[in-house]
Amino acid sequence: MGSLSTVLAGNNFRAGVSVTAVLVVAFVVTGFLSSAYHRAGIARGHRHYEIGQALQRAGNLEGAAEEYRKALLFLPDEPDYRFSLCVALVELGKLDEAQSHLQDLLAVDPTNGLFNLMMARIDERRHKTSQAIDDFQRAVYGYWPRGKLQQRHAARWELVSLLQQQNRPNAVIGELLQLYANAPDDPEEKSKIGFLLLHYGATSDALNLFRELVRDHPRYVEAYHGLGQAQLNSGDYLSARRDFQRAAHLDPSDHDNLKLLALANSVLELDPSLPRLRASARLRRSHSILARVLRDLAACNAANVPQTASVAKPANNAEPAGSVAPSPPSPLQQQLNNAATLLNAKPTDLDQAALDMQDTAGQLWKDRSAFCPGKTPQDRPLELVLSRIAQ
């Protein structure tokens, strides 16, 4: 510093020294002032923040937001203050302002899960669904401050809910599996995930989940109930009945479970593909299936399926004399005729007859939409058996 002052001053060495001394003093004074200024700012900011939190707890959101704003005047770089302001603003419905502050926060910390979650909620409230989904995903895959991990879990549930609303089953299944992988040891939450997986058709994942749940919580009714449903969906009716029975044993008052147990029983009584059935039993069950298919078709749309009754007994319907030669029957008509023939025939090869009946029933069931447009089948056991046969 001395040499610098010499250089600067040229011949005026004294001026150089005095400038150097003043500079040092100025630095010290400014440093002292700014340090005191920062301390005062921190104290004031913290005081406003605490008042804001108290007001927020008391439900005075407007007052809380105002205090948070004041706190930010003193400490604009304090993320907690800004985030608290965002939370208050979102609750007040001041989404523009909240979003603006969140953008500030995200500019500094773009992978913060909490900030992205808040942004996602704002987007969701503004019906910007695709942006909200992106933000939720950033939130759940971002980092979370220590002690806030529970909120990440909640964020994922919010994402699942949004994806459900958007009818995106594959994405829902993906998030549910992630939820399950990171789920706490809470049988209720796990069974909720399992039932949602079942709902969205991820049967094998649900099956694994409920099996694990049964193993870990053998006294938990929902685990058996869920496992039973998963078995039912996968076509293992015997196992399904066993699990429903266990659930009924643990909680006999569960009507839903009893209904499903009844369904499993009905399916098992109807299913011709069960092992160790005699040929006559298999034929009887196949006959019953075909008859129920025709009944279902007749019930769903009597106007469109009048022929079913007539074709069921073709021998009794002599054609009137002088009538015009009939046109060749349609494939559908042919199937109905075939079904009627099969029902009335006296088979010699029981196994073959059973198979024919099952094929015809399956074919008619497949073409059901032509008979009954827009109507869902009422005969649930029949539906399950036929889907099993189709497999």
């Binding site: 040229g10 302002e97 502050h101």
Partner: protein, 529 residues
């Protein structure tokens, strides 16, 4: 060789030239200015916290009187203790350059510091940048005197300090440099630019060391949503171009009326301005002080476009009161506030009603600031770079260029006198306007010469090129009555001749009688008989 001899030699080797010393001094000026601006900033905040901050809540009504009290104390300080600290700051710095060889009294630094910290801190609607500029110039002048700089160098030292002061105040080094080059100095050399840059950068670095790197405004990300938005930005430019001359006219007329009042009223007028600010501040406290907190709040979408209009217009009104009343403080911050709020309001309207996608209102605030800055201060380049530097967004350049240029041209057409020149006139100073100096087109030889009908071969001796300044020709004409003008491409070919009468004619000097008088009646470009 003895140690003393070695030492002397070493010192001799290290002795720097005047230019090198000037550059090093610029660095020191920047550091000192940065430190001073930090203290100034802290002082303003402390005054504000201790008065307005402590009087919120149930003492809200006291807010009415705080700005008036601050303005009275500040004006008494300026009038009785620091009389050289009067004025806007920019003109006083220019005066130091043009009339007093860069001399800015040291008392100005103390006077500006105290009076402005009190008036701005206590809520008067003025800003800290112009005072920072003048304080920077004061520091530079003090250091220049201390190191006994030559007179020609001393004249350049005040702008160096001014750049350092304003750069630290805005936390924008480029803007500081450009403003001084555009507004304070019309001509500059490489050394001047180098020292100004050095001072601005060192002051900003010093300032950031103590106050942090946070920018003056926290700007949300800017994006141009649709090309049609450029029309909205141009419209903001038109509105700014119409409003800014109106504001200038209001300042001039109000100031004239107030100057006609008896002399003793000058002590009471700032209090009246402060009281009116307090009245408005009861309902809209955002207009009090420099207003940067309110700008930041608006940039975060705290206000609707209707509130932004109120705030912009009310700030315009209270700034008019405070500034024309003579309360110490600057105009940069209020101008940014007014422009920002009105730009934001315009953006809010566009966001709601424009048929194409439009950015949020906050994006328009930044453009509005630049527009009003360009319209009032007539520093178009500074206004563009100010917004660019504050927003740290390259995308904003295009809208800002369109809007600012529109506002600048329109404002200039409606009211040709720029703000600082107008103030200088009101303060009785005859200072050159940088804008006028820029517009001044020096005449060249080709503007005055008589073209020859057919090219002639040049004679040996003195000759001129057509693009040389006419002033240079005068030196030659003092020796010879007529000089040949030769082509740049073919220096042997004479394309015209130049006489003293031609020069007089070109400058519009009427010479009664004689040869030159006859020639004045001819076109200078006509071929001589």
């Amino acid at each position: 060789m003895t140690n003393a001899t070695k030492w002397r030699e070493w010192r001799h080797q290290l002795t720097l030239s005047e230019t090198q010393r000037f550059l090093l001094l610029a660095l020191l000026i920047g550091i000192f200015s940065g430190l001073l601006v930090v203290c100034f900033h802290i002082c303003i905040d402390w005054v504000s916290w201790s008065t307005l901050g402590a009087l919120s809540g149930r003492f809200r009504l006291v807010r009415l009187f705080v700005p008036a009290l601050g303005a009275t104390v500040a004006i008494l300080l300026v009038a009785k203790v620091f009389p050289r600290a009067q004025g806007s700051g920019v003109n006083q710095t220019k005066a130091a350059i043009y009339t007093s060889n860069g001399y800015v009294p040291s008392s100005t630094i103390v006077g500006k510091f105290l009076s402005c910290a009190i008036s701005i801190g206590m809520g008067n609607s003025l800003g800290p940048e112009d005072p920072s500029l003048q304080m920077g110039a004061g520091i530079a002048s003090r250091l220049g005197r201390l190191f006994s700089l030559e007179r020609s160098t001393m004249r350049l030292i005040a702008p160096v300090g001014a750049a350092a002061g304003i750069a630290a105040a805005f936390n924008t080094p480029i803007t500081g440099v450009l403003f001084v080059m555009e507004e304070v100095l019309a001509d500059w050399s490489a050394t001047t630019v180098g020292s100004i840059v050095l001072a601005a950068v060192s002051s900003v670095v010093t300032m950031r060391t103590f106050l942090g790197n946070a920018p003056l405004f926290r700007i949300p990300p800017f994006q141009l949503t649709h090309a049609s938005e450029l029309l909205i930005y141009a419209a903001i430019g038109v509105v700014g171009g119409l409003l800014s001359p109106l504001f200038l006219w209001s300042i001039r007329e109000t100031r004239k009326r107030l100057d006609e009042l008896p002399h003793w009223t000058r002590y009471g007028l700032p209090a009246v301005g402060g009281f009116l600010t307090g009245v408005v501040g009861l309902w809209f406290p955002q207009v009090m002080g420099a207003g940067y907190d309110a700008i930041n709040a608006a940039l975060h979408g705290q206000f609707t476009w209707q509130v932004l209009i109120y705030l912009g217009l009310l700030k315009l009104l209270v700034t008019l009161f405070c500034f024309t009343a003579g309360t110490p403080g600057g105009m940069f911050a209020p101008v940014l506030f007014i422009g920002g709020m009105l730009g934001g309001a315009f953006g809010g309207l566009a966001h709601n009603w424009w048929p194409f996608p439009a950015a949020s209102a906050e994006a328009y605030m930044m453009v509005g600031m630049g527009v009003f800055f360009a319209g009032i201060f007539r520093s178009p380049i500074t206004s563009i770079f100010l917004v660019f530097e504050l927003s740290a967004s390259y995308v904003i350049i295009l809208p800002v260029m369109i809007a600012n240029t529109t506002a600048y041209l329109l404002s200039r057409r409606i009211m040709p006198t720029p703000f600082f020149k107008m103030l200088a006139q009101l303060e009785g100073l005859a200072l050159p306007s940088a804008e006028e100096k820029r517009n001044f087109q020096p005449l060249h030889v080709e503007d005055a010469m008589h073209a020859v009908s057919s090219p002639m071969t040049s004679e040996p001796g003195m000759r001129l090129f057509p693009d040389e300044p006419l002033d240079a020709a005068l030196r030659l004409l003092a020796v010879r009555p007529r000089i040949q003008v030769v082509s740049r491409i073919h220096p042997d070919e004479v394309i015209g001749t130049l006489s003293l009468a031609d020069v007089h004619h070109a400058y519009g000097i009427q010479d009664e009688g004689g040869e030159s008088g006859d020639k004045l009646r001819q076109s200078p470009r006509s071929t001589p008989a």
